[in-house]
């Protein structure tokens, strides 16, 4: 028996074969077999496939019990880190960093980890609502979406003048900004005003202006911490909330133990020892507002004594011609010996970098301080060098390059003035909570009352939404589309992609789709300018420009293939490292300005400097409605669910107060009360209060906390150099109240440990 026969005999079809294979084949039999064979082999096109339908129908893409990961972009802060979300049975279960994303390389901060509680927050709005009992009544009546859009488009159409509409936004995904700008442009209205507390505290608009002045481009600098031997940080809380904390933390880890051989020197200059300063090798408690003086003195010493290995400093001598080191030392409270020591360390290092941070931008002399700090990088020739300063890569295509700019506080004040004057009839608010985030003294509450119709896009009833007539809740970020060019960026061009990882939980509508819907309803020019059917088609078109780029880490043969990979990987980035070297402008050929800080409040009446700082847990307060974040202890004070006033032990004992004693803090603009935390790492003339608590609205978890918003104290003054809010320029006084409020702290103050183990 040969092999073929063997196969044939063992074949289950063998018997059939035998029957249909007679020894001799007649023509009739042949035809019969041929017909049968056609029926058997030609099955594919002829037969219908019928799927059995189960009684319970799971969503199509879901394999029961099997986890699927979707890539998207974190929106808990403006950094734009890549995330991957574990979904099981169509529900998001865990967020991790996207390991491929060049910015955060698989890492994520506490706020990013808590993102699920934005999605599953019990206090979300479930549909569009109108405030039926009038503004501030907190009585909401559900509204059918087409009706809500009709209502809003009627309001826009009824405007007597396009100048009477305004859009106030926070740092939103880029496509919403671009659609809003386009819509407003065709209406003939002013472009959106972008401002939120996070960007004010990190000094984003000032940093952009600094880049413009120094490097002739508005893109934010990227400080190459990981490759640096000496890092001088001037009020930049780069391991907490400033700019791109996850990327900066990763760089910090690499600087410490990344195999460079040395663990680097990291010096932090600021009046309060922040969590960032806790990781620094040295904390220098500079007098508030005098950080620039330290930088000027260090620069002067380097130039004068020809320190370092750069060679001649002759070209930079002009920068420091008016600087007197002795004066600077006295004004900044930093001993001359310390300045000399640090100048030497900074200049002698192979790679050194100086970072101008958010606290500098929050002073009335902020811009001159920031110039002085940035100039240090020039003095040691670290601009565009490893371990020095680079510029963020702008978007790789023309459309993606139109990133949203952050407006200075000045421009918000202009809007408030116009609102107060009754020049605004319709206000749209997206991604910002100005009622909470602006200094109370700026008068936004009064101004919003003068606006006849206010629309909020907030998914939560926050302090501003309470004063809206109409709330059109946007999806939360895990349900949303979008893209973002991270700024500051990574070491290469990156565009982060945001896509829904779950179906929207409720009857919410994407703000971008609201804008497109409005344009269609308005017809005419707006409809022509915004012709897209929905935001996804707009995104597909914009992102499609990247298809075929020679830089990309991946490419596809077809646009739809590219669109799929774009969503699969969570964005687009260059395969190779491409750093952008800044080009210097002529600002570096004139003497650096020396300007004294100015403070609101008479030093006699108000002896302390107020330092409202961004909380690493709650950032500017947007995390206050997430129980995971509220329960997470503040790293420095270990307080959970609370708000407090930090005092130097000497200040506290002079005042006769101790931990948990409530003090009254009063500025020329407002007053609040809060319990004391004795804090060894703060100047005796400074009072620090974390930002983020004290919500009147914003859900049960935010409102559960007994705390106040320090912005009631802050003077609405600006740095004339940038127009940025000088949030660190207010003076306060303290008064004990004799009452107590026990803060929940992880740390045991009496040394007895936890009750649960007692």
């Amino acid at each position: 028996m040969n092999r073929d026969e063997d196969t044939l005999n063992n074949n289950p079809l063998h018997s059939t074969f035998k029957e249909t294979m007679p020894k001799t084949l007649t023509r009739r039999e042949f035809l019969k077999i041929a017909a049968g064979a056609t029926a058997a082999s030609g099955l594919a096109p002829a037969v219908r496939s019928i799927v059995i339908e189960p009684f319970v129908q799971p969503p199509e893409e879901v394999l029961p019990g099997q986890a699927t990961w979707y890539a998207s972009t974190c929106r808990q802060c403006p950094a734009g880190c890549g995330i991957i979300v574990r979904t099981i049975n169509g529900r998001a279960k865990k967020i991790e960093g996207n390991p491929l994303h060049p910015l955060n390389r698989g890492k994520l901060c506490a706020r990013g980890q808590a993102g699920l509680q934005v999605l599953y927050n019990p206090d979300r709005l479930k549909n569009a609502v109108r405030q039926s009992g009038g503004r501030g009544s907190r009585q909401f009546e559900p509204l059918y979406w087409p009706e809500a859009l009709d209502l809003l488009s009627d309001k826009i159409a009824a405007l007597s003048n396009a100048e009477r509409i305004a859009f106030l936004g926070g740092l939103m995904p880029s496509h919403i900004y671009r659609l809003a700008t386009r819509l407003f442009e065709t209406l003939g209205a002013a472009p959106p005003v972008i401002y939120d507390l996070q960007s004010a505290l990190e000094g984003r608009s000032a940093a952009s202006q600094l880049s413009q002045a120094f490097f002739g481009a508005p893109d934010l600098p990227v400080y190459d911490i990981s490759q640096s031997d000496v890092v001088l940080s001037f009020g930049a809380n780069l391991l907490e909330t400033w700019m791109s904390p996850v990327a900066q933390s990763a760089a910090y880890g690499a600087m410490r133990q990344g195999g460079m051989g040395s663990r680097g020197l990291f010096v932090q200059f600021e009046p309060r020892l922040s969590a960032t300063a806790a990781s620094a090798d040295e904390w220098i408690p500079v007098r508030p507002g005098a950080e620039g003086f330290v930088a000027l003195a260090i620069g002067r010493i380097i130039v004068e004594e020809r320190l370092g290995h750069v060679g001649s400093h002759r070209t930079q001598a002009v920068l420091y011609q008016n600087v007197d080191v002795r004066e600077m030392a006295a004004a900044s409270d930093v001993p001359i010996e310390t300045l000399h020591r640090l100048a030497r360390a900074f200049a002698d290092a192979d790679r050194a970098v100086a970072i101008p941070g958010g606290y500098l931008a929050g002073q009335r002399n902020g811009f001159s301080s920031m110039l002085a700090v940035q100039a240090l990088n020039l003095v040691v020739a670290q601009v565009g060098r490893e371990g020095g300063v680079f510029l963020s890569n702008p978007g790789p295509t023309a459309a993606l390059r139109q990133n949203l700019p952050v407006n200075a506080f000045d421009e918000v004040i202009d809007l408030i003035v116009r609102m107060k004057a009754g020049e605004i009839d319709l206000l749209l608010v997206h991604g910002a909570n100005p009622m909470y985030e602006l200094p109370a003294a700026a008068g936004f509450a009064e101004a919003i009352a003068r606006v006849p119709f206010v629309v909020s896009f907030s998914p939560f009833v926050d302090e501003t939404a309470v004063w809206a007539d109409l709330i059109l809740p946007d999806h939360t970020y895990l349900e949303s589309w979008g893209y973002q060019v991270p700024s500051p960026g990574a070491d290469r061009p990156v565009v982060s992609s945001q896509q829904p990882v779950v179906r929207p939980l409720y009857d919410t509508l994407a703000a971008a789709d609201v804008l497109l819907g409005l344009a269609a309803r308005l017809g005419g020019k707006p409809a022509e300018a915004l012709p897209w059917e929905d935001e996804a088609s707009y995104l597909e078109e914009t992102v499609g420009e990247l298809h075929g780029s020679s830089l990309g880490a991946y490419d596809a043969r077809t646009p739809s293939g590219f669109w799929a990979l774009w969503r699969q990987y969570g964005g687009w980035w260059s395969e190779k490292k491409i750093r952008r070297e800044p080009e210097l402008t002529e600002v570096v050929q004139t003497p650096l300005p020396i300007s004294d800080p100015q403070f609101e409040g008479d030093p006699e009446d108000y002896p302390f400097h107020l330092y409202p700082y961004s909380s690493i847990i709650l950032s500017d307060g947007r995390g206050a409605n997430l129980p995971w974040l509220q329960e997470a202890p503040d790293p420095m004070t270990t307080v959970q669910w609370g708000m407090w006033v930090e005092l130097n032990p000497k200040t506290a004992s002079a005042l006769g107060v101790s931990d948990n004693d409530i003090v009254q803090v009063e500025s020329p603009y407002g007053m609040l009360e809060a319990p004391v935390v004795i804090y060894p790492g703060i100047r005796p003339d400074v009072v620090a209060i974390p930002v983020g608590q004290g919500h009147q609205d914003y859900g049960r978890f935010a409102q559960a906390v007994n705390g106040s918003n320090p912005l009631v104290l802050v003077a609405p003054v600006t740095d004339p150099g940038t127009g940025a809010l000088a949030w660190g320029a207010t003076r306060v006084r303290l008064k004990p109240t004799g009452r107590k409020q026990i803060l929940a702290r992880l740390e045991s103050l009496d040394g007895n440990g936890r009750e649960s183990l007692g």
Binding site: G97, Q113, G253, A632, W641, A704
Partner: protein
């Protein structure tokens, strides 16, 4: 079969966690990641003030010196997965036991809540469920289906994310390959922005964790008690500039 050896109770794995204090910035990302991964409830301000918080990992902060020469240092502390764990012999119902991979494990449905183990633990790493956990709807959707939600009256603690260890072991076995170093990442390790945490097998001398454990900076907490901790700390350094 060769791959079965990986899952056998007779393997010589010793899971350890290396904590590099020179990298840790106290940022709390691990704390929140742990809550999310392990279905740890939130107790609220009042109960937290009583010390009834339920973090499986905490970042202890220590002040040193006085103003202006003051320093703050961070130390993440979680269950140390001791070799000679003081919590094990005191349990009257054998709810806490030692597994073959060196993990100190807790059997929730055996636990009767005597809290003896919590008293015996020198690291105070064990957490007691004082209340029935509450997850206001729809926060129940955030729960990880791989991890039991514990009820009132039960002790719990860091498990080194045993559900992730098991999943990686089962996956590698199914694919017929050896588990690679670094393949298992507990939630805290995966998220840590500065890569201060490294997880691995001390039984494998080439694993990254083993290499770090041999560092001159390595030390263990309360080693003198003879607990044989499975968490290895690397000392944070001083700069000599």
């Amino acid at each position: 079969m060769a791959t079965d050896a990986n899952l056998s109770v007779e393997n010589d794995r010793r899971w350890v966690l290396v904590v590099d204090l020179d990298r840790c910035t106290g940022c709390q990302a691990c704390v929140v990641a742990c809550h999310a991964e392990n279905n740890i409830p939130v107790v609220g301000e009042k109960q937290a003030a009583y010390g009834r918080w339920m973090h499986w990992i905490i970042i202890q902060r220590y002040w040193e010196g006085e103003y202006p020469n003051v320093k703050a240092r961070f130390m993440p502390v979680m269950c140390q997965q001791c070799t000679e764990a003081p919590c094990e012999p005191v349990c009257p119902v054998f709810a806490t036991y030692h597994n073959a991979e060196g993990l100190n494990a807790q059997i929730y449905n055996r636990c009767i809540g005597t809290r003896f183990c919590g008293s015996a633990c020198p690291y105070k790493a064990r957490i007691y469920n004082w209340f029935q956990p509450e997850f206001p709807e729809p926060l129940t959707e955030q729960l990880n289906p791989d991890v039991t939600v514990r009820t009132r009256g039960i002790m719990e603690k860091c498990t080194f994310c045993v559900q992730r260890i098991r999943r990686a072991e089962i996956d590698s076995q199914a694919e017929g390959r050896i588990l690679a170093d670094g393949e298992i990442q507990p939630a805290c390790v995966q998220t840590c922005p500065t890569s201060a945490l490294v997880f691995g097998d001390l039984g494998d001398p080439d694993s990254r964790a083993s290499q770090l454990a041999r560092s001159h900076r390595s030390f263990r907490l309360l080693l003198e008690l003879g607990t044989g901790p499975g968490v290895i700390y690397l000392k944070g350094g001083e700069t000599n500039v």
